[in-house]
Symmetry: C2
Subunit: 584 residues, 2 copies
């Protein structure tokens, strides 16, 4: 962002009063994130995208055409930064920003694994084009692509491409990589990516869920610089001790903000960061993104200065961008909020790159859509299947008494290996919806070879029909669960036809379909419509017997290494503790 | 430093206990600079140059050949970092390190303007070779070369060379640049260097002496990221507000540490750094470098954790090297101190890059000298002078009543313009030692053209003889002051013969000479001998009538833009307020 043409001469001249500013914010209380003070009586002069002057009196910078905004004793704060999130999935970025900007988030650093799962490096580059030219700052992280699926591994970004991408100003480093794979399983490719990122002076994002002591140390020694997987106060402390920037999540997947409350007064918070880790459309519409997290922190007793530091200068320092954003200071870009009063974190006005982008909750800049390349609309590289493809034949020596299952645990994310009484019929093991034994299918969609595995799942609850989705986390595939083979086939084949999304079939008909045709992850519908559809889907699932709170989310994670203990990929069940792949 | 071959796989394996550590420090109290806590019961495992594990029990990393050091309840601290200093002058680096290492300084980030004043980019590169391969971390900053002397300006490093140098791992950015020149006088060359450094993700060191409000804002907007010129508590606050890393000096030139005491409990200290700004040989020998500053901070009431943060993680973050040094954590280099007890900041043991480099005040590693290129021994490009070259002719219309002088103020650094009764004789203005009116000469030594100016100085005090030196700050020149022309000529000509240093002449003989033949700035004598000689020189000056506390330092600064208000260069007197050059 601070290119060689950074206008430092001009900014200096504006500060000196030799040239007029474009915009002046007059007479506010400066929230100084650097020294941790509130400084009354401060005005800010902006020239182009940049802050030229901050001080007691900016009148020397006001010319005939200078726009003057009266802060009038309100608080002048840096824009908020969400530095661990997942924006590369679900919605169109333009549509997302309409909701996120009014809450004061002016910098987004996002994972982008979905685009890489869809189309490898080509997909990631297409995502960079989505974020590169927005009225707010958006940066992407190169997906580490720690996947359980060998087919998906073929989409991993090569060392050469990583080196080239690290030179891109839109790229701030390597995205999250699950520690187990990196540290325990000797994933040389990810180790190499980490080295390249560190060598390039960029960041390495970590994912140390459940790791402590020697395993966490090993992951740290491998190069991870942040962790957003602390779920207790003790986790926060152990990660800080290892020099991590600890990103505390309060979003869609988990809400852990409260873990900092018991320790907030006893430690240096410089390496604590608040993040969303992504939100779903419903949460976005209702809560307005990161501002909700900042407000909650303040409501829980966090000093507002600390709360703002945790979403501005702390992450800016972590990502090495504090020389151009993260604070209201000369020579930084004008990413500024006017907050109504101490303790109220929702801004009256949002400036980004020197432009007023939102006032009183309304976005004030056009957010044109950026077209996706045609190739991203054809990423379900699978031929249609038939019922025969879903058969689980009995062993030649006759049926076993039990079959192996994935048992979804309460909460819907963690799974355990289970043993269910088999349901043999006509030479196959069958589903038994009456006792919650359903078929689960994973079809890889990366290679065109259509490799797949059919197993069993419990804890899903659906009594009739089938669901197929393409939004698997960390895997390029289609995942389907169903009570009946006919509905499973229909759901998968319809999903292939619409090239991604969610298809629900019941009794031989398509009951509902929600297209996510861009890479199989992103929908072209407006967010409100996505939210409405997702609610309808959840209601339909409940109507079909599912007891899960968020059936879609559960399904998304079933092939991902993010959550223990047993997952499904095209080769079979992947067991974490045993570190093996097994069949039914 | 974190090259692509960073051994992250091996470090992870050591952390996991799959491979033995090379060295383990057992059972200390970890000074955790990240969270600001003291954590008892910690052991550290080191593999090669790196820390692999930190935690409650490192016994799983101990193999047959692992060296075990018992911390035994003592404090395990990161090594100290001096990040604003002047090591590129005076002494040989090897010799310097012998004194600096036992006090626990394991990282040095130094200005290098002397080498550039001697030989431009070639000189700077020769300095990088001096620091590049030491048992401690040493980094150089590209000299901004803000000089008053047009001849010296010809040695400034070109944009192309700056771009190339910024790629060098030994280079962390652009060195200090005096704000007046950059901001007020439109020095486009330095503005461009700043942009290049920021573009390359490296640092821009500032020098905002006496600047505040709009002038300080202008300098900040130009790109300066640090300032080591705060001399009051208010200066600290105003610089922090502008996002500066504030480097508080306690060294040779100034001792300002106490300014942080009144504010230390009210502000976030994350951007406060303690530095020496360089020390002289005497101070180095007596006080042991940065450890003296850290100890003084603690003695003045600074929390030892904060004191260590101010010389470890704070500067490491500022320079973007915190991912490999600045804290005791896995994946960082093993730059570690064992401190005897809380509040005692002088280490029992110093590790650098995983090697024990000092024990109980004694350096334990060889420090071989690195030869300098032959060209650095021939940098006084001046032909010998004669008395006629020092004549200050009277105007044709007859002598003026007064001549213009540089009046050295008490303290020896600040000067003011003065007006002295002229001493006309034989068609010239002459010196009048009896009323402290001496000749001062500046001869540029960069171009070979030998341009020079002869003026007058008061406040120097010397009654007889003359002195010539080559160690002018920020200028490639020879500076001489004398009561008699004959002695002036002899001093300058002898200095040219020995190619730099200090020559004192009295009554037609060389009374004392101290050679600094490397670039005219660096002596090949051992530090003890330099210190002894400098003391002898000061005594000699006092004996000749000088009342200055440090006559050599006063002389060094007489051609530098660092200190107001009037200086001498080859073109005449350089006046700061008037921004002009004038004669006598």
């Amino acid at each position: 962002m601070r290119q060689t043409n950074f206008p430092n001469r001009k900014l200096a001249d504006v500060a000196l009063g030799r040239e007029p500013a474009d915009l002046v914010i007059r007479e506010g209380v400066l929230l100084d994130v650097y020294s941790g003070r509130m400084i009354p009586g401060r005005s800010v002069a902006v020239s182009g995208q940049w802050i030229a002057y901050v001080g007691a009196d900016a009148s020397h910078t006001i010319g005939r055409n200078t726009e003057v905004i009266e802060a009038d004793g309100r608080i002048i704060s840096p824009g908020y930064m969400d530095t661990h999130t997942h924006l590369a999935g679900c919605w169109d970025i333009s549509d997302f920003l309409k909701y996120a900007i009014p809450g004061g988030t002016t910098t987004f650093i996002t994972e982008a694994e979905a685009y890489a799962c869809a189309l490898g490096v080509e997909g990631f580059k297409a995502f960079l084009d989505q974020i590169g030219n927005r009225p707010v700052k958006m940066f992407g992280l190169i997906p580490a692509m720690v996947t359980l699926s060998p087919a998906t591994e073929s989409l991993a970004i090569s060392r050469h491409d990583v080196q080239e991408l690290l030179k891109d100003d839109r790229v701030l480093g390597i995205g999250e990589s699950y520690w187990q794979n990196v540290v325990l399983n000797s994933n040389g490719r990810v180790m190499e990516m980490m080295r390249e990122a560190l060598k390039a002076g960029k960041s390495v994002q970590g994912h140390g869920a459940g790791a402590f002591d020697r395993k966490l140390a090993a992951y740290t020694a491998a190069g991870a610089l942040s962790c957003h997987e602390a779920i207790t106060s003790e986790d926060v402390l152990s990660r800080l001790e290892y020099g991590y920037y600890v990103m505390v999540r309060e979003g869609d997947v988990r809400r852990d903000l409260e873990i900092i409350i018991p320790i907030k007064d006893d430690i240096d918070l410089r390496r604590v960061i608040l993040v969303t880790d992504g939100v779903n459309p419903d949460l976005l519409i209702k809560e307005g993104y990161l501002v909700d997290v900042v407000q909650k922190a303040v409501d829980l007793g966090v000093d507002p200065i600390h709360a703002v530091q945790m979403v501005s200068i702390n992450p800016a320092e972590h990502f090495g961008i504090d020389h151009f954003t993260g604070g209201v200071s000369p020579g930084r870009m004008a990413d500024i909020l006017i907050l109504p009063e101490e303790g109220v974190m929702s801004p009256d006005m949002v400036l980004s790159n020197g432009v007023v982008v939102a006032i009183n909750g309304e976005t004030k800049v056009p957010l044109p859509k950026v077209p996706h390349p045609e190739s991203l609309y054809h990423t379900l590289k699978i031929d249609p299947i038939s019922e025969a493809d879903l058969h689980i034949p009995l062993p030649e020596e006759g049926p076993e008494e039990y079959v192996r299952t994935i048992d979804i645990q309460p909460g819907g994310l963690v799974t355990r290996e289970g043993k269910a009484e088999a349901q043999p019929l006509d030479g196959q093991y069958c589903a038994a919806p009456d006792r919650d034994l359903l078929k689960v299918v994973f079809l890889e969609r990366a290679t065109g070879k259509g490799e797949r595995f059919v197993g069993f799942v419990r804890g899903w609850g659906q009594k009739r029909g089938a669901v197929a989705i393409s939004q698997c986390w960390d895997c390029s595939g289609v995942l389907a669960i169903g009570a009946e083979d006919r509905d499973l086939v229909l759901a998968v084949n319809r999903l292939i036809e619409i090239q991604g999304g969610i298809v629900l079939t019941v009794e031989g008909r398509v009951e509902m379909e929600i297209p996510f045709a861009i890479g199989g992850y992103v929908s072209e519908m407006p967010i409100e419509e996505i939210a409405r559809n997702m609610r309808r889907f959840q209601e339909a699932m409940a109507g079909l017997g599912s007891t899960l709170e968020n059936a879609f989310l559960t399904m998304c994670t079933l092939a991902s290494p993010a959550i223990p203990f047993i997952r499904i990929i095209e080769k079979g069940y992947r067991r974490f503790r045993e570190d093996d792949i097994v069949g039914v």
